[in-house]
């Protein structure tokens, strides 16, 4: 996709910029710059401004200059490492125009381009795209597939969700991700026909500072409007789920295998599991064909286990996932006949591309059970298709 290519180009550009910046941090000020300042006539610092001065330089670009304080220390017995650079007025420092500064002024347009690209990157950084905003499991890539068997109609399958994180606007970005989300789930097979759109708010919150409390908590919730084109009708869904995490497990040591969200080295594979408990609420506002309307509240227990076989060889590109969810009706006006809703999902994925940000690969999924939260009646499904996450 064109915009993906652009994003890739921007990321590459920023990576190069980041490396250059890191080098600038580690390198001491160039001897050339020192010589340029030392050889400057004294009258240039008395207020005369060069043409280059008048063009102005962004304050941040002054950072490559050395302060008089540190220069004095270097000339005497002082230590550079002690000094933090005080910012000098532009009228004085720019008149001591050394070559690196001139080069920086020439690169101003490129810098403004980089600023725009940085903003664009910040926007894309705030986006999450995956199969579902269900945060109770290891994020899985969005899924799309088309399949056909002889004599059968074409079957389409889509699981995709998009979220924008706006927690930064409330200055809560260090403890939660919060923002609007939209997700769509389509399955055109007769066995498990589904076409559901959900839009609303999604939340992921770590309320306690784990560095001070031995036990931490992860809260995952959402409140969404739901439109179901197969069953017909509109409604509201909300859920709140909790998982504990623990501080201080020594690396991948097997003694910490019981601790959630830790990878444990089982020699033949890396293992991780996520146990959640929580509650779901669904309110059907309108239903087609005089279907039932009303509210349902369910308790949920869910465990997801991930195994990365031969992790040293595949580097976590190959994963096996088992996901068991058990929902029990606490209050049900819609379908009182069924009180328990078990759901088992098994996946095997191999990623051709896998970074922290992006995944692309092929996956095989099997599911058996009901997911009333997603409008999925009891069914058994096999899927194989392309998986994408970024």
């Amino acid at each position: 996709m064109t915009w993906r290519c652009r994003l890739g180009a921007i990321a590459a550009f920023l990576a190069v910029s980041g490396r250059a910046q890191a080098e600038a941090i580690s390198e001491p000020p160039s001897e050339r710059a020192r010589e340029a300042r030392d050889s400057e006539p004294s009258e240039t610092s008395s207020g005369e401004r060069s043409a280059a001065d008048l063009e102005g330089t962004p304050p941040g670009r002054l950072s490559l200059e050395e302060p008089e304080e540190s220069s004095a220390k270097r000339d005497g017995s002082g230590s550079d490492s002690e000094a933090t650079v005080p910012k000098e007025p532009r009228s004085e420092t720019a008149s001591e125009a050394s070559e690196p500064e001139a080069a920086e002024r020439d690169s101003e347009p490129a810098e403004s381009d980089a600023g725009r690209e940085s903003s664009l990157r910040a926007f894309f950084d705030a986006l999450t795209f995956r199969d579902s905003m269900d945060t109770r499991r290891t994020p899985q890539p969005a899924f799309a597939s088309l399949s056909q068997t002889s004599g059968e109609p074409l079957v389409g399958h889509i699981d995709a969700a998009l979220m924008i994180d706006l927690a930064g606007l409330l200055d809560l970005q260090d403890r939660m991700a919060l923002g609007p989300s939209v997700e769509y789930h389509l399955n055109t097979s007769d066995a498990a026909k589904r076409s559901v759109l959900e839009a609303g708010l999604a939340l992921e919150w770590l309320p306690f500072p784990l560095e001070r409390t031995y036990v931490g908590l992860v809260v995952a919730g959402k409140a969404q409007y739901k439109r179901d084109w197969v069953r017909g009708g509109n409604g509201l869904v909300a859920s709140l789920n909790l998982m504990s995490i623990f501080r201080g497990s020594p690396g991948k040591n097997i003694v910490a295998v019981w601790k959630p969200d830790r990878l444990t080295d089982l020699w033949f594979a890396d293992f991780q599991y996520l146990p959640w408990i929580g509650a779901e609420y669904e309110q059907v506002l309108t239903a087609e064909d005089s279907g039932p309307t009303g509210a349902t509240a369910r308790g949920v227990a869910r465990v997801q286990a991930v195994l990365y076989p031969a992790a040293r060889f595949f580097g976590h590109r190959f994963e096996l996932i088992g996901d068991l969810a058990l929902r029990g009706d606490l209050y049900d006006e819609l379908d009182p006949s069924e009180e328990l809703h078990p759901l088992v999902r098994l996946s095997a994925n191999y990623y051709l591309l896998k970074t922290e940000d992006e995944e692309a690969g092929l996956g095989f999924d099997y599911s058996n059970g009901a997911d009333p939260e997603k409008g999925l009646a009891h069914s058994e499904q096999w899927k194989f298709g392309l998986k994408l996450r970024f």
Binding site: I25, A83, D125, G168, L210, E356
Partner: protein
């Protein structure tokens, strides 16, 4: 304290001691959450593959990393989303430097 002198001066060059102190603070924070000796945490180590940090463990780093960054810039922001994307310990050090506006 060096950090007190440099706090709030976004975009300036930090001294070698500033940078070393920041990197040490970040490594100490990661070691505390990961149950590791401080000296054993190196910039080249992978969060997931070597230290065993899952996504939520990485997300839990955000609060402490932002606190470190705010010693240099009181307006520094580090999000749980950014922390979930960290791959190496060195990425966390770079993230804090970037958030603190240290060049």
């Amino acid at each position: 304290m060096v950090r007190e002198r440099s706090a709030g001066r976004r975009g300036e060059v930090a001294s070698g001691r500033d940078l070393e102190q920041l990197a040490n603070d970040v490594r100490a924070h990661i070691a505390a959450l990961g149950g590791l000796p401080k000296e054993s945490v190196r910039d080249s180590q992978l969060f997931k593959e070597e230290l065993g940090f899952g996504d939520y463990m990485k997300a839990a780093l955000a609060r402490g990393l932002q606190k470190i960054a705010r010693e240099y810039d009181p307006h520094a922001k580090i999000s749980v989303r950014e922390c979930k994307r960290l791959k190496k310990v060195g990425d966390a050090v770079f993230l804090v430097k970037k958030a603190a506006g240290i060049k």
